[in-house]
């Protein structure tokens, strides 16, 4: 019998939704997994937890949204890229619905647009609001919206695309990167697409259709003929069989596994087609599938800087200024609103190199050790994470391992960590650790730093 990878997984007594599986779901659908979130998931069960990923109706969420918008209105200058970055990072840290931000981040990389070229932070703000709004909607709506997005129009030279002098940049990327992918269209199709989008310009922060710049003549595109305009091109591309395959594969890679097998890709493509390109339906099924909870997918990915920094901040309950969080992301290779090129961020192994590992170590250091209570420093409640009454090094290690790994670290690793916590060269000792709260809290911070820097922690 052919096994269906995306068939639903039903937790049973012998194969329950345990802390590790719950944290896996939370990490992938959001950023990190705090003990409170994990406990709630275990209490509510898989189905309710997945539903809640999409739920913004509860009082907490509404209150947060209200507060957040009022801050945005008064304290944030959206024309300043630093503040815009800080604002979004702050939202990612505080939100009750991290999936929306996570998807917005995925689409931001997919429809890559950089403030370095656009040079207008306000336009970037509006683009991300569009991506956030349509994050788990229909893929067709996303493409339609991005084709009219002023930041995208600037980024891919839409304003230079006129009837007299068509500019192929957007037409090409629309197919090569945003929909069906390279190898499924010809250069003539690129020319036709470019002509169809002529006149799709912007004025200030608004989209504007300049009819006198638009080529409304007959065009031939992917075997069809007609007086196509941009909307028609998008419709035709949504019908292209490669489009759902590419997007389904992208979502698999982003949420499930960095290198899914052809069989899984086929199933996911069929699913996405069945949903008529509905992202929410697709993800709801993926997040409850046997594949998603298989050993293959568990901790199979490498965390992006956003997952690393924001995940850690959320898991440990760190209070840190949004602008500081955003800076950590930039230092680690994921500057918000500035993907390196049209292909966005390559991700996975490309996140990890000498620079980014050094940056993560630096983030871990600032997170773990900062005693300074200044407004820009990271701050968290150590006592809330590890009760001060826990005085055995091995027990402290166990507690931290539970928070950060749901206990998933080898015995020998835990033993090494417990030994490090009492080494004289770091001002500690077995007795000092047990009896002196100052030594204990200092060593606990050191352990947190180590855990955050270890290779195991870079996996997601």
């Amino acid at each position: 019998m052919k096994s269906a990878w995306l068939a639903p997984w039903s937790p049973t007594a012998s194969d329950p939704l345990d802390a590790r599986k719950a944290a896996h779901l939370l990490r992938r659908a959001g950023f990190g997994a705090s003990p409170i979130e994990v406990d709630r998931a275990l209490k509510d069960g898989l189905e309710a937890t997945v539903e809640r990923l999409f739920d913004e109706a509860d009082d907490e969420s509404k209150e947060f949204a209200r507060t957040f918008e009022s801050i945005a209105g008064t304290l944030v200058d959206f024309s300043d890229i630093g503040e815009l970055r800080g604002w979004w990072a702050y939202r990612m840290v505080k939100t009750r619905v991290p999936l929306r931000e996570k998807l917005a981040l995925m689409w931001h990389g997919h429809f890559a647009t950089s403030v370095d070229k656009v040079e207008n932070s306000e336009l970037m703000h509006r683009q991300i609001e569009t991506l956030r709004r349509l994050a788990w909607g229909n893929f067709r709506d996303l493409v339609r919206a991005i084709a009219r997005d002023p930041a995208m129009i600037v980024y891919l030279d839409g304003e230079s695309n006129t009837k007299a002098h068509p500019n192929e940049n957007f037409g090409r990327e629309l197919m090569e990167l945003f929909t069906c992918g390279i190898g499924h269209y010809s250069e003539d199709d690129v020319k036709s697409a470019a002509r169809a989008f002529t006149g799709w310009h912007r004025e200030g922060v608004e989209f504007v259709f300049k009819a006198d710049e638009h080529d409304d003549s007959r065009k031939r595109f992917l075997g069809k003929t007609g007086k196509f305009d941009g909307g028609d091109i998008i419709d035709i591309l949504m019908q292209h069989p490669e489009t759902p395959r590419r997007i389904a594969t992208k979502m698999l890679r982003f949420f499930a596994h960095p290198d899914p097998s052809p069989e899984v890709i086929e199933e996911a493509t069929a699913l996405f087609v069945r949903t008529r390109l509905d992202v929410k339906w697709f993800l709801r099924d993926l997040f409850q599938s046997q594949y998603f909870f298989s050993k293959d997918c568990y901790r199979s990915r490498i965390s992006s800087p956003a997952e690393y920094v924001i995940g850690t901040v959320r898991t440990l309950g760190v209070r840190w200024a949004g602008t500081q969080v955003a800076e950590q992301l930039s230092n680690s290779g994921q500057a918000l609103f500035a993907p390196p090129n049209v292909k966005g961020w390559d991700g996975e192994t490309r996140w990890i190199n000498s620079n980014s590992l050094a940056s993560r170590a630096s983030t871990a250091s600032q997170l773990a050790f900062f005693e300074d209570d200044g407004p820009w420093s990271a701050n968290y409640d150590l006592g809330a994470l590890v009760d001060s009454s826990i005085s055995e090094p091995s027990e402290v290690v166990d507690r931290l391992t539970q928070i950060l790994f749901q206990g998933d670290l080898s015995d020998s690793t835990r033993k090494d960590l417990a030994e490090l916590a009492v080494t004289p060269s770091s001002g500690s000792s077995p007795q000092g650790f047990r009896e002196d709260p100052t030594i204990r809290s200092g060593q606990t911070r050191r352990l947190i730093h180590l855990l955050l820097t270890m290779p195991e922690y870079q996996a997601c």
Partner: protein
């Protein structure tokens, strides 16, 4: 070996004095001293220094006899008697005395009108063109130095062939098959404990771990590599012992670091540094003078340091900017983005002098200077003749090379 002996003899006083100290230095340094007399492509280093913002070439290399210079810059033109004269037609900005000295010694080559076709006046785009060495609308994601070094054979244990002294990786160093480190960040990665202590060993074990498959295996290998690199860098900078005074500036610090790394003999080939602040749209005179003064004194200290370490023959410095600035001054006592500018090459092995023509101030392109040397010719020259990398492969096409370096 004949080559060795000849280079040894031609190195002059600096080389001799370095080697003559061999007897009193620890074995490591003596080995290093032997290595220094072997001059071939393997030892050549290129330091790429980017002047970020668009350096005003016209006030850097000044055509002090051209009436159009004074006519177009009634307030920004530099007084003729203060210009550091190189020939009877051009001179350097008053603050660049040390470089005028180098020019007289034949160690400074100035490519007078460098640029590329269809000049782009956007910082982002023009920098991308210089870094990727491509004028195509869809720029490659790799940089010219990255592509060059990707084609160089490197064993697994070899320290990285390029490093950035800036705070983040420049696009020029982006390669397909390797990642070049940013030195400032490597410093933060140094293990807090001494590897000789038992706790250091435990820590090392935690950070590198046993072999594993999949993502974890990859992560452990990477972590291991970073540790080794940080160790190598630490060791290299410990070998560097000099009392050389560098100017107190961000650039001075980068150049000092460059000297440390080169002296560490890690097999480095390219170092990338950057000096920011050249986007002088307003009140240019003071800021430009400060920047060029920093530049000149930094480069002078660097040259002095390399000479003292017997490394002067091995290093060429290339100084470039993403574009020059407009001939006309603007209403804010500054200048706006332009096109062609000049490029400097410094080093004992550089064939000093003026290269190419000084762009005409009378025949402009959209108000800007027109280039007569494509920057990719400079790259091709350095790739083929200094770094031993195939320029046609790296740049995607053949560019005529110039007589800029002695082999």
């Amino acid at each position: 070996m004949p080559t060795t002996r000849r280079t040894f003899l031609t190195q002059g006083a600096a080389g001799l004095s370095f080697v003559s100290l061999g007897g009193s230095m620890p074995g490591l340094f003596a080995r290093v001293a032997e290595a220094s007399v072997d001059s071939d492509a393997n030892d050549h280093v290129l330091v790429v220094l980017e002047l970020a913002g668009g350096n005003d070439g016209l006030n850097t290399v000044v055509p002090f006899e051209d009436p159009l210079y004074y006519k177009n810059r009634k307030r920004l033109s530099l007084p003729k008697d203060e210009v550091q004269k190189l020939t009877n037609l051009v001179g350097l900005h008053p603050m660049m005395g040390p470089l005028a000295g180098l020019f007289k010694e034949g160690e400074l080559a100035i490519v007078q009108g460098v640029g590329y076709p269809k000049p782009d006046r956007s910082h982002f785009r023009s920098m991308e063109i210089w870094h990727t060495a491509s004028v195509e609308s869809l720029a490659p994601s790799t940089g010219w130095i990255g592509r060059c070094l990707d084609s160089v054979e490197t064993s697994g244990d070899q320290a990285p062939r390029a490093m950035a002294l800036t705070s983040s990786t420049p696009q020029a160093l982006v390669a397909e098959h390797q990642v070049f480190p940013v030195v400032a960040q490597l410093d933060t990665f140094n293990p807090e404990e001494d590897a000789r202590l038992e706790s250091g060993q435990i820590r090392r074990r935690l950070m590198t771990g046993p072999e594993a498959s999949g993502s974890l295996g990859f992560l452990r290998r990477q972590s291991n590599a970073v540790y080794k690199m940080a160790d190598q860098l630490k060791l290299a900078t410990e070998r560097y012992k000099t009392g050389m005074e560098y100017p107190e500036s961000a650039l001075g610090a980068q150049l000092k670091r460059a000297a440390q790394i080169i002296a560490g003999r890690m097999g480095i080939r390219v170092l990338f540094a950057s000096q920011d602040g050249y986007d002088t749209h307003a009140n240019q005179l003071e800021s430009h003078a400060r920047l060029l003064g920093e530049l000149a004194s930094g480069l002078a200290a660097f040259r002095k340091d390399l000479t003292a370490q017997g490394l002067a023959d091995q290093v060429v410095v290339m100084v470039f900017s993403e574009f020059g600035r407009r001939v006309d001054e603007n209403a804010s006592l500054g200048t706006d983005h332009g096109a062609a500018s000049n490029l400097f090459l410094l080093g004992r092995k550089v064939k000093g002098g003026l290269v190419g023509k000084y762009p005409s101030l009378g025949e402009l392109g959209e108000g800007d200077l027109i280039y007569n040397t494509d920057f990719r010719s400079v790259y091709a020259t350095l790739l083929d003749q200094w770094l031993g990398c195939p320029s046609e492969k790296t740049l995607g096409q053949k560019f005529p090379t110039l007589g800029l370096v002695q082999s």
